[in-house]
Amino acid sequence: MLSPDMLELDDMERDALTEVFNIGVGQAASAMSQMVNDRVELSVPSISFTSRAAAALELTHDAGQRICGVSQRFQGSFEADAILMFPENKSLEIVRLMIGDDMPIEELTAMEQEALTEIGNIILNALIGTLANVFGSEFSSSLPAFHFGTSSEILQAERKNADDLVMLLHVDFKLETHQINGYVAFLLDVSSVQGLRDSINRFMGNIAR
């Protein structure tokens, strides 16, 4: 059976992985800063391995609540879906901050959805690029897709996949005076967990040397 324990990292391994992801999102932040002519800061304060069901719960405590997500499927030494999600109404806040729009309407318009998809694309490309560097292999990836649904729907955490493993990154997004906490989930299946594990071990071995 697949369980979060299978990827239990020690503190040093976890710190090292967090560090690389931080370098990755740093590049995304500089690209976004340039786009909005304002300082955008992105950081990954922590990484955890958990089940899809637990990740869905962490994102929204209210199971019926719907959120926005942006996903890309990538494949290389392993294959996974990477999904950026902002809990509650934070996605709208980010888009409004970036476009500078103060229209008091609750829904994301088509244009804003597209803008959020681009923001997701920048962040996910940076993270997938980081993984490629870490693992010394290349990943090809799909164009980003926009999702709207409950965290459980977006994470495909229903029934048969509920226990599948997720690598969950916390992503802090800072713009002007706002701080917004988002998540990036890497949905892994059995073969990809093995691939990720091997890659992490190899990477740790390289650092140690």
Partner: protein, 337 residues
């Protein structure tokens, strides 16, 4: 083009040129190797002019741009990118006509940057440009309409003056301000005399017309931006007068009464005059004392009742001595007697 017959190749080339969006392909050195008809048409640059050149040679403004970063991400790391029009507007100098003038606006663009890995060749990059100018215009129109709707929800649909919802918000806000500033604030409540008879005699359409006329006439007597006439309901109106004490409000109320009378809107069933008249009640808050909006409205309503009782087509100022028992309620101590 591995595995393609020459006819398929010719078809691919024809389809590439016929596509209704911009398509360009760059090689691993960022040099343009394919440039479709749409790109030629909207950039004013023929394929001959662009072949073998880089985007920055053609458009120096792209140096350091997001499009260039996306291009490099595709060529070097195999990352696809999407450039939304909200965040990038118009990355490429493309125009609706073939001969661009400096005044012409750029086409609004949504751009996709995709890595290509053709068999046996180094990685290339496909850039796809879609004209989204129409969608942008449509979305802007929808937003403007939404804004208008919001504004309208605070206006009475018949008379186009502020409605009761706006009165509630405005009065509460202005009362708080008046208390802070120890400034006076007055309220006039008024209605049209024998309006039910008017409707019965002339019909509801004429009734509506007279309401529109009365609302406009009331509004025209107000000169200061802080004062507001609102339709309270039916034939009832409420006027908020900021920085105005009882005496000032009484003067203005009389002016309104005279103004409506001077409209001379025929009203044969009225028992006070052969034309439309109004009755008005005035109430004022004592500067610096905390007064509830509901208290002020009730007091003005009581004064209006008294004006009706005293014969209509007149102004009555709230007077606790004349009025029914409400003066003993603690809330009413904040009213000017």
């Amino acid at each position: 083009m591995h595995g393609l017959h020459s006819t398929q190749l010719a078809l691919c080339a024809a389809a590439f040129d016929a596509a209704s969006n911009g398509l360009l392909v760059l090689d691993h050195e960022e040099r343009i190797v394919l440039w479709n008809e749409w790109m030629s048409h909207h950039s004013g640059l023929s394929p001959q002019k662009v072949m073998g050149r880089t985007l920055t040679e053609l458009f120096p403004e792209l140096q350091g741009s997001r499009l260039l970063m996306a291009l490099r991400g595709a060529l070097h790391s195999g990352h696809p990118s999407l450039l939304s029009q909200s965040l990038n507007k118009a990355p490429l100098p493309l125009f609706s006509g073939p001969s661009p003038t400096p005044q012409q606006l750029r086409i609004r663009q949504a751009v996709k940057v995709l890595p290509l890995t053709p068999d046996g060749m180094p990685r290339h990059c496909l850039i796809q440009v879609t004209d989204v100018s129409l969608s942008v215009a449509r979305e802007r129109l929808l937003r403007d309409q939404a804004m208008e709707l919001r504004a309208c929800s605070h206006l009475d649909s018949l008379t186009s003056i502020p409605n009761r919802r706006q009165l509630d918000e405005y009065l509460a806000r202005e009362l708080r301000r008046a208390v802070r500033a120890s400034a006076p604030l007055s309220l006039i409540m008024l209605d049209i005399d024998y309006f039910k008879h008017y409707n019965d005699t002339y019909g509801h359409q004429m009734g509506d017309q007279s309401l529109i006329q009365v609302a406009a006439a009331l509004e025209s007597t107000l000169k200061r931006p802080g004062d507001m006439v609102t339709r309270y309901g039916g034939e009832e109106f409420v006027v908020v007068l900021v920085d105005t004490d009882k005496a000032g409000a009484a003067v203005l109320a009389e002016k309104m009464r005279a103004r409506i009378e001077s409209l001379s809107i025929k009203h044969e069933q009225s028992q006070v005059a052969p034309h439309i008249t109004i009755s008005l009640g005035v109430a004022s808050a004592i500067p610096g004392l905390n007064c509830e909006a509901s208290t002020l409205i009730l007091a003005a309503d009581q004064a209006l009742y008294q004006a009706k009782h005293n014969g209509r087509n007149r102004v009555q100022i709230y007077d606790p001595e004349l009025l029914c028992g409400i003066r003993n309620q603690p809330n009413f101590r904040a009213l000017q007697a």
